[in-house]
Symmetry: C3
Subunit: 206 residues, 3 copies
Amino acid sequence: MHPRLTLAISIMEALALFSYAISGLIEARKRRLDAVGAFMVALATAFGGGTVRDVLLSRRPFYWVEHQDYVLVIFAMAIFAPMLLKMTSRLFDERLLLIADAIGLGLFSISGTSIALDAQMPAFTAVMMGVVTGVFGGVMRDVLCNEIPLILRDSRPYAVCAFAGCWLYLLLDRMEIDTIYAVLLSTAFILIARLVTFKFDIRLPH
Amino acid sequence: MHPRLTLAISIMEALALFSYAISGLIEARKRRLDAVGAFMVALATAFGGGTVRDVLLSRRPFYWVEHQDYVLVIFAMAIFAPMLLKMTSRLFDERLLLIADAIGLGLFSISGTSIALDAQMPAFTAVMMGVVTGVFGGVMRDVLCNEIPLILRDSRPYAVCAFAGCWLYLLLDRMEIDTIYAVLLSTAFILIARLVTFKFDIRLPH
Amino acid sequence: MHPRLTLAISIMEALALFSYAISGLIEARKRRLDAVGAFMVALATAFGGGTVRDVLLSRRPFYWVEHQDYVLVIFAMAIFAPMLLKMTSRLFDERLLLIADAIGLGLFSISGTSIALDAQMPAFTAVMMGVVTGVFGGVMRDVLCNEIPLILRDSRPYAVCAFAGCWLYLLLDRMEIDTIYAVLLSTAFILIARLVTFKFDIRLPH
């Protein structure tokens, strides 16, 4: 793979992880959790999806064991959460967080599907593993904060975008397109699908 | 095993799975979840118990990986949930759903115990694995819907019926009765115990 | 290891397990769960942390599979919960339960870290596994009872004490101090830290 491309994906991955962590911190703040709560909810949001996938696939080591530095950064983020969130809301508007989250949804879902395919899972299961990787962090965040998970009720096509994108990835993979292009294309698809359906306020049947 | 018996058990299994899924859809409807929520809650209700058991026993592949067709049917059920639930409540009365659910409780609990015994678990653990297989789908359904799990509070002997039936299965197994008869007898025991205690409104101590 | 020391640790372990179970029973009573609910919540509180750790580390058999006798005792405790809780609140004052719980926090966290180190986990992960072992039982208890987990919101340094004690254990381990002394010292540290911060009502930033 071209080294610049690898770098680009690593940067997007970090961006996505931290935007997931920030969504955890925001939720923790809303529910008036303390610093420990903020850290745990941020961790669960950032790494929950991948961890559930790895438990289901009997896959080790976990991402957060191999990337302890990310855990440490989230640790620092949780300690300085009040400052960080004030800064975040001043520097970035909601749109930027939405975009970062959509990148995360795309990257995590596609990487989940790709990992499940490597583990010889059948097609539909691989797609479901991708969706789980993308959305389960948020489900855990909401269960810990004692709410019905947002993605189960807000009727916006969040998991559905991931679902469609994972099928696209599968299709590109079957067509034997170079993995890196398949990843980029289907991640971009999820990102755009999420932003477009959000923008035009498209809703799922209730 | 007699092929007609195998067929009968497969039919009962499918019946049980779908009645679990329907109880998930009903709960999802009550909490006003969208189609994604309905699908996820139905999946968790139908496959949650067996999945937790398999994770605890380090057992793969999961049932829903080997039976993707069932997942697809639940997928369709979730999409057409509003229609389906209207039809269900017109065609079947509550009693039928209760019976289907009790068959599920019986079959899932006994199969869970049998699988745990095959994995060399000691007696009490095998029984607990059976109960977990039978009731954890419902626990997950209620946690996702932000309720205290029904089986922890409704004081009806639901898990208790499964518990007793699993001990009966263990006993029959020790007596070296043919597996198929042991399964049928103890499943029938759970089914009847559940229906009788329900009918006479027998309650656990609070 | 000196046999009297082994005995002392076994006794502390049993004490800790049952104080965790009792905290589960108290919570179950508060939320008006039935006997099944009391049993399940007590089990989850006592064994939840270790089970999550073992699932994450792919480690078997579970503690509660090897110590079925403890499960049976908790089973009896749940059945006689109303009596037991009356007796407990008469015989022991809250302080004793607090101490027993703090012993549990110390022992479980340190044993979790030690097990994670044996499984070749890196330092920070081993510490996190220790904290998970110590606090996740309580998290499960609260999620089952439909509350935001106490440790995420009460702003008392509970997980933080475990966190600090696990680092102390790691340090002592690196200094090649005899394991048993390292365990005792760092458990004592957590116990004292918890009691002192509780006594002086020291709070985390919110």
